[in-house]
Symmetry: C2
Subunit: 403 residues, 2 copies
DNA sequence: GAATTTAATTAAATCAATGAATTAAATATA
DNA sequence: TATATTTAATTCATTGATTTAATTAAATTC
């Protein structure tokens, strides 16, 4: 267990608390921090001085609260520390540079070729990380966060090894990157990363429960409760793609019947649309269309495509209703490539199912958001995983000593 | 937020940690506590002396660890503090007296009459609590825990009011009991109570995730993660009875289609068996049989009844598979009246579905238990809710001062 | 029976947060 | 404009829970 707390522990907990409060509040005075944390102003003075000294936070401007002396605005110092975020998908990867507040400073997308081996793919990811780190001059890269597709199994005792990335089980990503770049490395399931990413993005407080749906080639979910991810026994919590929505439904490759993923995913959309095309239905699309073309057709109002898309979104709605019944989240966020096709349509379809099928009291206390823009929550989340990882590690406040 | 920690906070956290460690370990030496907590032996000496003084823990016997001086065995002192646990069901209530380790010292069952109003029912519950408290002499009753059927909505800011118990929404249980008996009162959803009850029963560590299925007149679940219940936005997490298992299935009174509860619950079992009987199928049962008779018939091997029971257990298995996919628990516990009918049969049916439908890696890392004996997890859980509630409250260590 | 090992306690030392007093800077008021 | 009031932030001595180091106690080993 080793959960006992002594003075060092107190110091660390309070400093991390101040950082989290600043992340949430954006910018506030020392007096605000004292009120929010319950700590005394004298303590806040000390903590702020230290965190300022190691360049984690900075003063900028003043806060006028009406009467009395103005407070000095404190916020996270986004000018010094950097983390690299990488999102690995089955067909491409994204890599970007982020500041300590989780803001994306730059990012790029790189397609995988059909024939590339896992080792070659991992090699290209490393080169891209290298090139990002080389560009950074005055600033300091302190960690790398990687979001990979699930399911992957985490060895929770030793985070060094023991996870299994479906397509390249033999590569110990964490260890190799740590050795090569000499910084902390954190690996996370892509939906979990997306959950943490939206949790930061939406400025959500610790008391809120957030569920993120990653609607892409498969359907995954991540759960943030009490500011932490719910990981489960092997770290594979959130495999909602294999939730049964039709007990006697289609056989899934997982062995189960009627899995959500059989009715809703970008893969299913591509397959079903193409199948309809071969049957000679009218559409602006030709047979053999990929997701990109199907997305364009949907946005152009192609009836066949939109109908299929709506069907999938309704099934996704069933998944959302199930999760709302099971976990009663405050916030539901749906993102990834399926959401980006027609976010407004997805919202309508999901909300209709929720209205039809969900207890009204619970329904009205749940915010449902679709992330339709180009922002990739799992990429942002990869960076957040790294930042949160640093805050959780006992080493968090030795950053300064490394200089 | 007010999450900042000072010396008082440290003291409280460490003392609660020691109590929890003793709950888990059962009995161990001061040196063991030091190792488990990460605190120094000198600190443990201080903490143990204090907790002993307020009669929360006691010394009994010695621990021989091989070489060297023997340690003194420390364990929770079960001889002084008492909590009352009450489980309210729709047709009856259970009330019992428990020690601080969650052991049941006595309990009794009381049926509700058909025509009784909520007020009358609540009156009888209060009388029973009164009679339990009156019997207690030297010992000290410090809290009452109540498990009530869900869904009930918790006002998480003020725990005084604002919850809604389906059958008697107008009764502020917590406030009334607190006023009448002058002790702390904690109200919880019955499946959540069952979850905490099994979590203590199974001596599970904080790092394990446990899911409890309450398979009774409805299907509910409770989730324990990191030693705490997952409550959700309104405290109604765990309403898995309304999880869709057939997207185009039977219409449920909740407005949703194909809810698990439409295929599996003691109510459904009674209805379906009786319906088959009216159609003249062979059975040792007569039309209009209640759950008690159906249970006996099932245990006597009545084919029709067993077949229906197995069908329901298989649907329950689908629910279990969904929860395993969604939350990846370490431990699944299934209890309540449906489980008590034929626990072995239920286990076989559920395990078969899990084998057929679940990813083998996840499956093999999940323990599935059926609570078939007479013990009621929600009753035990009601007591645990009270004990955990005391540990969470800032007042935990003022118990001694009340003397 | 002495050496070794482990358990538990004692008393001085540590140091993070606190309390009280002080300084600083804004608005309100006369 | 001068003064009072209010709020923000800092300084420094104090507090007190945990720790460190030394000591006592009681078991096993050889």
């Amino acid at each position: 267990m080793k959960n006992g707390i002594n003075q060092d522990g107190v110091q660390k907990i309070n400093r991390v608390l101040i950082i989290r409060l600043l992340r949430e509040a954006g910018s506030c005075s020392r007096a605000d921090l004292a009120r929010m944390s319950g700590l005394r102003p004298a303590t806040i003075t000390n903590i702020v001085n230290e965190l300022k000294h190691i360049r984690l936070i900075r003063e900028e401007g003043a806060i006028n609260a009406g009467r009395g002396r103005n407070g000095v605005a404190i916020s996270l110092d986004t000018s010094y520390y950097r983390v690299v975020g990488v999102r690995v998908s089955r067909k491409y990867f994204l890599a970007g540079l982020f500041d300590i507040a989780g803001n994306e400073l730059e990012s790029s997308r790189h397609e995988f070729a059909e024939g590339e081996t896992p080792k070659e793919r991992f090699g290209r990811i490393q080169e891209q990380i290298e090139s990002i780190i080389e560009q950074v001059k005055e600033e300091k890269v302190v960690a790398i966060g990687i979001a990979i597709p699930g399911p992957f199994f985490r060895n929770r005792d030793s985070r060094e090894e023991g996870f299994e990335f479906q397509d390249w089980p033999e590569i110990p990503i964490e260890r190799l990157l740590k050795e090569r770049f000499g910084v902390y490395v954190f690996v996370e399931h892509d939906a979990n990363a997306g959950a943490l990413g939206s949790y930061w993005q939406m400025n959500v407080g610790q008391e809120k429960m957030l569920v993120y749906f990653s609607a892409g080639q498969g359907i995954g979910a991540g759960f943030v409760n009490g500011g932490k991810l719910i990981l489960g026994a092997l770290g594979v919590a959130g495999e909602i793609g294999h939730m049964t929505v039709e007990t006697n439904g289609i056989l899934c490759k997982c062995g189960n019947y009627g899995c959500l993923e059989m009715y809703c995913s970008s893969t299913v959309l591509v397959n079903r649309v193409n199948k309809k095309l071969t049957k000679g239905n009218y559409s602006i699309l030709k047979e053999g269309s990929d997701l990109d073309k199907i997305g364009k057709a949907a946005r152009a109002g192609d009836k066949l495509t939109v109908a299929e898309y709506e069907r999938e979104c309704s099934y996704l709605g069933v998944g959302v209703v199930n999760i709302m019944n099971i976990l009663n989240p405050d916030i539901v966020v749906i993102g990834d490539e399926l959401a980006r096709i027609l976010p407004e349509t997805m919202k309508e379809c999901v909300l209709k199912v929720v209205r039809d099928r969900m207890n009204p009291i619970v329904r009205e206390h749940t915010d449902i958001h679709i992330v339709g823009d180009e922002e990739d929550m799992s990429l942002k989340g990869a960076a957040i995983v790294a930042i949160e990882g640093l805050l959780d590690e006992p080493i968090a406040f030795e950053w300064a000593e490394e200089q």
